[in-house]
Each structure stands twice: as structure tokens, then as C-alpha cells.
């Protein structure tokens, strides 16, 4: 029954936490590093943070990257600290991966790949959103 399904979706408790959308590739701007800093600061104050990776932002999660080759301090390695800051909700837009011919092979675990619709629903459960 479709009506009960819709009901269930609407009944999901709105998360009061912060959503951070990452939409930029990792090495050519500071956006990725800035988003990481904000996430860790909120995490260290025990605020709920969810991370969303969309568009070129999905490149931040791809495995086997090496920032040292382009003389950049590898902030991507710090992503593995998310679990210590209780940042457990990490969402990736599947369509963005497909468009870029990327496999679902990430350098951190516990990443949830969501379809465009699910990605939107997950984002809309948050009261506050920052986009980098």
C-alpha cells in the first residue's frame, strides 16, 4: 500500500543535526578542507553532523589518491578520524558517481551510497545545511 509507505517516510523524525554538503573536487580549492574542519569542530562539541558528497565532491572519497604528488598536505587522510568524532552518517550521491565513471571504492568505510531521491530525503531531514 503506497499510502502507508508515504506515511512512514513522513513520520521519520527530523534530525536536528547539521548537514554538510561537499560539492568540490579535493585539490584545487580549500573547500574540502574547510568542510572537514567544520565537521570536526561540530563533532568535538558533540553536535550531530552528517556529511553529503555530491557532484565533484564525490572525488574527495575516492580511494588511492595521493595529494603529495601535487605538493598538497593530504587532508583526506583525516577522514578516517570521523568515527572518533561520532560522525557516522556519510552519504554519497550515486548519480554523481555514475556520471564520473567512478566505482564505489572509497578510502573510508561506512559510506552510504544513495540514489538521488534517497539523497534528497536524507538531506531534507536536517534542519541546518552548510554547502562547500
Amino acid at each position: 500500500m503506497t499510502s502507508s509507505y508515504t506515511q512512514e517516510k513522513n513520520d521519520l523524525p527530523p534530525s536536528n543535526g547539521l548537514a554538510i554538503i561537499n560539492s568540490k573536487a579535493p585539490f584545487s580549492s580549500n573547500h574540502g578542507k574547510d568542510a572537514l574542519d567544520v565537521a570536526l569542530i561540530f563533532g568535538s562539541f558533540e553536535q550531530k553532523v552528517s556529511l553529503f558528497f555530491q557532484g565533484d565532491g564525490v572525488y574527495q572519497l575516492i580511494a588511492d589518491q595521493d595529494a603529495r604528488l601535487v605538493s598538497i598536505k593530504d587532508y583526506l587522510k583525516t577522514f578516517s578520524a570521523f568515527e572518533f568524532y561520532d560522525i557516522e552518517d556519510i552519504y554519497v550521491c550515486q548519480q554523481s558517481l555514475v556520471n564520473r565513471q567512478l566505482e564505489e571504492k572509497f578510502h573510508i568505510g561506512d559510506v552510504q551510497v544513495l540514489s538521488s531521491i534517497e539523497f534528497g530525503l536524507a538531506l531534507n531531514r536536517h534542519q541546518h545545511v552548510l554547502r562547500f
Binding site: A25, F27, Y59
Partner: protein, 98 residues
Amino acid sequence: MSTLHLVRQSAFATNDFAQCLSVLDHQDSIVLMDDGCYNLKHSLMDSLIKRVDGTLSINVITRHAQARAIEISAAVQHIEMSDVVELTFNHTKVITWQ
């Protein structure tokens, strides 16, 4: 009159690469550097490789692609930054797409 095109932006994020291809001449050269390396996986690249008739050369900076974990493709030439210096001398002008 040949042009060297330095492509530095991802075609998934900006329109630069499409604009570059629209003005591309058959004796020109393209260098993919920085986020331009992501264009190797863009559909525009597939159509460009089909268009290549031997005179047009497509190059990518090896380290920039490696840093981004982008597969080394056989369809393009792999060069270093020092080779870009030589390329600038071999072309009458340079356009940077950024």
C-alpha cells in the same frame, strides 16, 4: 597558427572544457592539468578521441592524474610539467581554460 590549450577545470563542474573543444583547431594541442584531469572520464573526451586525426595531440600531466587516482589512459600522452614549457614554444599562442 596553432594553439596550446591548458585545461584546468573539471567538465563535470564547469563549461570550460566544452568551450575549449568548440574552438579547437586540428593542429592544436590540449594539456589536461589539475582538475582538468577529471575530463579523461567525461563523455566529451570520448567524442574528442574519436575526432583525433593524428595532428591534434592530447596530453595529461602524469602526477596530476595519479594524485587524483585517475586511470592512465592509452589514448592520451603522459607528460610532465617540464614538457609543457616545450609545448608553449611549439605553439603560436596559449589559452588557459580556468
